[in-house]
Amino acid sequence: MNSNGIGALAGRIARAICLAALLLPVPVSAAGRVPKPVIDIDKPGKCVEDTATMRREHPDMLRHQRDLTMHDGIRTRKHSLKECVQCHASTKTGSVLGDKGFCQSCHDYASVRIDCFSCHAAKPKLASGAKP
């Protein structure tokens, strides 16, 4: 009985501390401790949709576009993977892969595997005559 009472008291104190931690303003230094993906964004600004939509819905857009291209021969540039790579490839590595690459850095952070580039080129098409 006695030990149970102590346990219940300890639990209540722990809950109170948690609540206090939630209510207290978060110190500014704590935000720096949260790891964020390090991305080389060479062309900041608006993509084909706004940033929030792109972050959430780019897989669906790509999947939709891939079926249109594959089966209907529609090769519009707006939602095509080729155009993503064309615009977002790093100027240093020339690729969307790599530690700070536009696609890989975020996918590594979210632990989501990208299968696209086992078949698709991760580097944009070079202008004819240019060397890598």
Binding site: R66, L68, M70, H71, D72, G73, I74, R75, T76, K82, V85, Q86, S118, C119, H120, A121, K123, P124, K125
Partner: protein, 248 residues
Amino acid sequence: MSADANEALSRRGFLAISAATLGGVMLAPGIRLIEIAAARAPEQAVSRQVRWGLLIDTNKCAPGCDDCVKACATENGLKDTGHPRTDAQWIRKVELKDMRSGRTHSVPVMCQHCEHPPCVDVCPTGASFKRADGIVLVDRHICIGCRYCMMACPYKARSIVFAEITDQNPDVPRGNGCAEGCTLCVHRIDHDRQPACVEACTRAGHNAMLFGDLNDPQSEIAQRVAKYASTQIRADLRLNPGVRYQGL
């Protein structure tokens, strides 16, 4: 080679052709009852009114010449991995000899883009499919690499990729574990360009390959097919390939 398998024209087929021919008649300058093979807008899907095809003149195809094979490899990123037995092969030169007469032929053979493709029939996932305009393709997104299509194809036109591939042509995604074959350079066709093999053959002055819309009576390929005898390989299988050979 046996005669063309399409000798028996069904009533429905005859009516369809008649309708297409009548539709092709100009009602007024620039206006047709049925538009045949009009240039496609970028956001417009491919149409069943088009049937892409190749006509290969074997009399002009020189033995030992592999300009088309090289052009295909360059365009589609087919690299020599040092394993010729397992390397993907989209187009190959076949040397034929009639043992009685001694007459020889050298012909390029690639996916024949059948109207009734056996590779599509056997595919368990629907990855092997025929596009509305007659081009037979593999959707690598859903290909599981079972290789049934390789077994089913009477032309040995399909290959499977055994190794990781890097530095693909951005227009031609290719990867390990997927079946593949000649796409008729679909990425070029969609931008109103000729397949790489045809372009190379013409550029080198051989003019042995002709690409075009078999359904468009105005196209050079349709006119030549209508005028001169041409054969389909293994026409006895009644697959109605889109690739035809002249002079075999």
